[in-house]
C-alpha cells in the first residue's frame, strides 16, 4: 500500500534536510520563495514575499562618521557618486574643544583631499533666542564656509552645532555644487541661536565628500549622509 502521508514527528526521522532549492520554499513553509535579487533590495510582504527597492523620494544612508572624541577634522569621503543628484548631511553634533570656536565646512575631492581654493560663497544667519539679535557671516571667494559665526559653546551637553544640510549636484562636474540648510547652536554665553545657511562652490568640479572642523582647536562630532532616491 502506498503511503500518502508520513508524520515525521511520530516516525522519529532524524538527519539533515537537503538545501537544494530551499530558495524556492514559500514563506509559510519557512523560506522566502525568492531566488535572486539586486543590491540594496529588501524583503517586502504583501500577502506573498517579494523583493522591493527603495521607494521614490526615499533617503538611502550612505555612511556616517563619529569622531568619538576631539579630532582635528571630521570627513566623510567618497560619498557623492553618479547614483544620486541630491544629498542630505545631518550633523548630529559638532562640539568645538575651544569655547567660542566657529564650525567650518569644506568639500572633499576624490584624492581625497580638502577643496580649499577660493571659490566658495556663503551666507549664514542665526538669531539669538534672548534678544533676536542676528549673527551673520557672509563671504565671497573664500576657501571655506563658516556655519556658526559668533562662536559655539564647548559644553558637551549642548552638542555644539546641529544642522541639516542639503547638497545638490556635487558629482556632476559640468555644474556648480551648492547647498543650503538650517542650523542651531548655543553660544559661549549659553544663548541658543537658530538660522539658515547657503553655500555655493563656483568652480566646476566633482566633489566626493564633506569636511567639518573648528577654526581653532579640535572638534568632537557626528555626521550622517544620505542620498535622495530620484522618483
Amino acid at each position: 500500500m502506498a503511503l500518502s502521508k508520513i508524520d515525521l514527528d511520530k516516525a522519529g526521522v532524524t538527519g539533515t534536510l537537503p538545501t537544494t532549492n530551499l530558495d524556492t520554499v514559500g514563506v509559510a513553509q519557512g523560506g522566502t520563495g525568492i531566488t535572486s535579487g539586486t543590491t540594496d533590495q529588501y524583503l517586502k510582504f504583501t500577502g506573498t514575499t517579494t523583493l522591493a527597492s527603495a521607494g521614490a523620494g526615499g533617503l538611502v544612508a550612505l555612511g556616517q562618521v563619529d569622531s568619538g572624541g576631539n579630532v582635528g577634522e571630521i570627513n566623510l569621503d567618497n560619498k557623492f557618486s553618479a547614483t544620486y543628484k541630491n544629498y542630505l548631511v545631518i550633523v548630529d553634533k559638532m562640539v568645538p574643544a575651544t569655547d567660542g570656536a566657529n564650525i567650518i565646512f569644506r568639500l572633499r575631492d576624490d584624492t581625497p583631499s580638502s577643496i580649499s581654493d577660493s571659490n566658495y560663497d556663503y551666507n549664514t544667519r542665526a538669531w539669538r533666542s534672548s534678544d533676536n539679535t542676528v549673527y551673520l557671516a557672509a563671504n565671497d571667494n573664500v576657501s571655506a564656509v563658516n556655519f556658526s559665526d559668533g562662536g559655539v559653546s564647548n559644553t558637551s551637553s549642548r552638542q555644539g552645532l546641529k544642522m541639516a544640510l542639503w547638497i545638490h549636484d556635487p558629482f556632476d562636474s559640468t555644474v556648480k555644487t551648492s547647498g543650503h540648510g538650517t542650523l542651531m547652536f548655543v553660544n559661549t554665553g549659553g544663548v541658543s541661536l537658530g538660522g539658515y545657511t547657503h553655500f555655493y562652490y563656483k568652480n566646476n568640479a566633482s566633489p566626493r565628500g564633506v569636511q567639518f572642523y573648528a577654526n581653532t582647536g579640535n572638534v568632537n562630532g557626528r555626521i550622517k549622509i544620505y542620498g535622495v532616491v530620484d522618483s
Partner: protein, 106 residues
C-alpha cells in the same frame, strides 16, 4: 599628533594633514585683531539697524541719537588696536550684556 576622523575611522593625521592643521591654528592666532573687529562691526550693524527707523521722514531723530549713531560709525577710526577691541567686546559675566558705554542707546 592630532587625530582625524574619516568615514568612522579615527587615526593620526599624516604629516601633510598635521602641517595644514598647524597652519590653520597659527592663522587663527594671527588673525585675532581682525576677528574681533569683525565681531564689533557685526554688533554695530545690529545697533544701527535697530535705530534706522528714526531716519524715516515721519519720525524725528534726536541730536543725541544722531551723535550716538555717528559714534558707532566712527568705531574703527577711534578704536584701532586689539586692546581697544577687547574693551568694546567686554561682557558682564552674569548677564552676558556688553559693558562698554558706546553700546548704550540714548
Amino acid at each position: 599628533m592630532t587625530k582625524i576622523a574619516i568615514n568612522n575611522t579615527v587615526r593620526d593625521m599624516t604629516a601633510e594633514e598635521q602641517a595644514e592643521y598647524d597652519t590653520r591654528q597659527q592663522a587663527y592666532i594671527d588673525d585675532g585683531a581682525n576677528r574681533k573687529l569683525a565681531e564689533i562691526k557685526q554688533i554695530r550693524l545690529q545697533k544701527l539697524i535697530e535705530t534706522d527707523f528714526y531716519a524715516l521722514g515721519d519720525v524725528t531723530m534726536s541730536d543725541e541719537m544722531k551723535t550716538w549713531r555717528q559714534s558707532l560709525r566712527d568705531i574703527p577710526a577711534n578704536h584701532v588696536n586689539e586692546a581697544a577691541y577687547d574693551l568694546l567686546l567686554a561682557r558682564d559675566p552674569d548677564t552676558n550684556e556688553l559693558t562698554h558705554s558706546i553700546w548704550s542707546k540714548p
